[in-house]
Chain length 144, copies 2
Amino acid sequence: MTAEEILTKAGVRPTHVRDAVLKRLYEAGCPLSHGEIAAHPGMKRYDRVTIYRTLYTLEGAGLVHTVQGIDGAWRFCAHPPDRTGCPGNHPHFLCLKCGKMQCLTGQRLPWVEVPERVRVKGKQLVIYGICTACGTAEERNKNK
Amino acid sequence: MTAEEILTKAGVRPTHVRDAVLKRLYEAGCPLSHGEIAAHPGMKRYDRVTIYRTLYTLEGAGLVHTVQGIDGAWRFCAHPPDRTGCPGNHPHFLCLKCGKMQCLTGQRLPWVEVPERVRVKGKQLVIYGICTACGTAEERNKNK
DNA sequence: AAAAGAATTGCAACTCAGTTGCATAAATTT
DNA sequence: AAATTTATGCAACTGAGTTGCAATTCTTTT
Ligand SMILES: [Mn+2]
Ligand SMILES: [Mn+2]
Ligand SMILES: [Zn+2]
Ligand SMILES: [Zn+2]
């Protein structure tokens, strides 16, 4: 199923930006920040605000889930629909060095007890540290 | 044990700001954002940057633990030492309406499996929604 | 097909949290 | 007391995200 069809099916008009952003997220396979998306060559011709609004539209349509990096920037993540929704209720890992985030799929978010009469709207579990790539790069540097 | 003594024991000089900020956090008993701290009457005479630096000093000394609200602002939390450290490895709840955060002590953060060779430095679990106070206020509004 | 209406995009200006550089003011050390 | 170190204040800056409004582009109606 093409990105355009997915957009239509989700009830949003398949405009250029939307198609481009959704494709970009599918290709990345990991959560991207607005900055990372906007920096991509193919995105240069769209306004930063438009990209923000596009991301929120995709989120509203249920095609994208969001997580916050502890660096203060939100990440947006989408997986093709054949991967059964990937609703986003899994932990995420953020590398403090390169800023890349990964979905830790295959694990569910834990059940958390909240005080009486508190209405829970969502939750997010972010693990942070140094990713494999950055870690080995560091090793190499030390040994030289 | 007074805040001043606690500071000294933790190896930082007990200056005015540090004493004031630590006391404020103790009194609050819940994580406060920089903004919430700076807004307090007794804090007006300190520069905002000084308050930031003070918070980082306290964090470095192990007297304060930090969590990020999904509203983009960090919270700083401290508990008197008799409460055996309260190391901060518990979930936190953030109210999207009033912005207040609460420690969900009594629950530990879950163990999370990470990819091979990833070095974990920390993790945080944030639950968000509407707190009891804001929820009941909403109810009252509906019924009038 | 033309006109009217609705949704989308671009641009400029703005907010808000946090940071950086540097000068001044304490403390500490010598 | 002088030299050195540490803490504070002030101004300017960065970076993520938001808001308002005008210009486009679609879609629907006539
Ligand atoms: Mn994810
Ligand atoms: Mn806490
Ligand atoms: Zn990395
Ligand atoms: Zn509340």
